[in-house]
Amino acid sequence: MTNEPIIELHDVAVEFSGFKAVSGLNLSVTKGELRCLIGPNGAGKTTALDVICGKVRARSGRVLLKGQDITRLSEYRIARRGIGRKFQVPSIFREMTVRDNLEVGYCKHLGVFSNAIRFRRAERDGLEKLAALVGLDDVMDEPAGYLSHGQTQWLEIALLLAQNSEVILLDEPTAGMTVQETMHTAKIFNSLKGRHTIVVVEHDMAFVREISDVITVMHQGKVLAEGCAADVQNDARVREAYLGSGGIAHA
């Protein structure tokens, strides 16, 4: 595994009608790494992901992907360069079947015209394997809107796997999952490390400890501390930020 950074944020600031969600944010993620972003609510974690994938535009600063400046690019161009994103709020295609959802996610071919003559039976097997991986193989033909909350999370992860991006950004992927499901998710993420670079915003510390190489703690729009789990837990500034909540062990 090389040590070249694949995602870099330099002094990024994002503002919403005067409210500084993120300011002076500096972040660097290495290729193949699994990075967790944690922090109290309002720390700017989701905004950080938003800036990387192009959902919001930085007021100042630069965002680099593989050394190239993507700060001003539209989100679909950023996606084409290899960034996939899962959002905090469930965003699957409720009226389509699970199978159809995965087919949309399988976005190797993007053109309107080329897709107009492309019929969908071709990728069937690959998608079924994907569904099996996340345990959705027996509901392939159900409308996605009928899935339970946990299953919806699975589908979202499966969509990202279908997209097969180099960089995968996830916002609270285990929200609402049982312990078992969380552990399964951890297994999947660990297997993706190396081939993919993963950045996860999470609250579940057990999960975070299980999967991450490096943890970045954010607070009030900036990076507060960075390091492996043990370092971060013992960091005085982090303790202070989480003052009263018994430290991040209970985050």
């Binding site: 919403f16 009608s17 969600a21 905004t47 919001v56 905090q88 709020v89």
Partner: protein, 290 residues
Amino acid sequence: MIDIVSQISVGLSIASILLLIALGLAIIYGTMGVINLAHGEFVMLGAYAVWFLQTYLGIGLFAGLILVFVLIGLVGWVVEWSLIRRLYDRPLDTILATWGVGVILQQGVRLAAGAELRYVKMPDALVNPVAFMGYDESAYRIFIFVVAVALLFVTYILVFRTEFGLQLRAITQNRDIARCFGVNAKRIYSLTFAYGAGLAGLAGALVSPLKSVSPDMGTNYVVDAFLVVVAGGVQSLLGTVASSYLIGQASGVLAFLSDDTMAKAIVFLSVVVLIRLFPQGLFAMRVRRS
């Protein structure tokens, strides 16, 4: 010079009418997310109401105004209560349903009152031009402008300085939380819709002496009003006012330079281009959608 001044005054009265209609629309859309395609028919009903009051009951325009506001407001209330409230989570379907309401209202009027053009008399007091800044101005147009400004002021007070307005703004921002605080969303929605409808009816009443009254007069106005709302940005009262006056004035000038149709076409194209540059309208707030 006379032409320019009269041009400005014509533009102002067009803008004022537009403002009244757009205001009602904007309030309804801004608060409830409802696109009311029957809004034009509310305007039309206001005009017919005045004609009816004048022709059959001998009530003049001035006295009729309040009556019309209340009457059309009532119609709005009924529409909201019976139909709109079932469609809050379906914005595209609301458009369709209100379009249906518009059709029913228009056809109803056509069947009841006939499709011929009707005429409303201008109140005697305002028929003669008044001298204004050395030029003769149509008193009626000035009257329209004054009423529009007055209503704008009233609306502002209502929305920003009353308890009702506070609750209205609360449910606009976040309906569920506001309800947790005891705000009766249903009632507010009904009242808001009724208010918007009343404003439209008033606009119709005011414009009736200037143009003839017919069952299909509504469509033109609703399209103009929507362009105003789209250009100005929905969440902003200021935006609606500014773009009413911008578009009203521009229409007036363009109509003077070429003709009504060209004016409309140019305004339309301008709005389409404008929207490409400012998709949220000219005065939108940037909010993080979560």
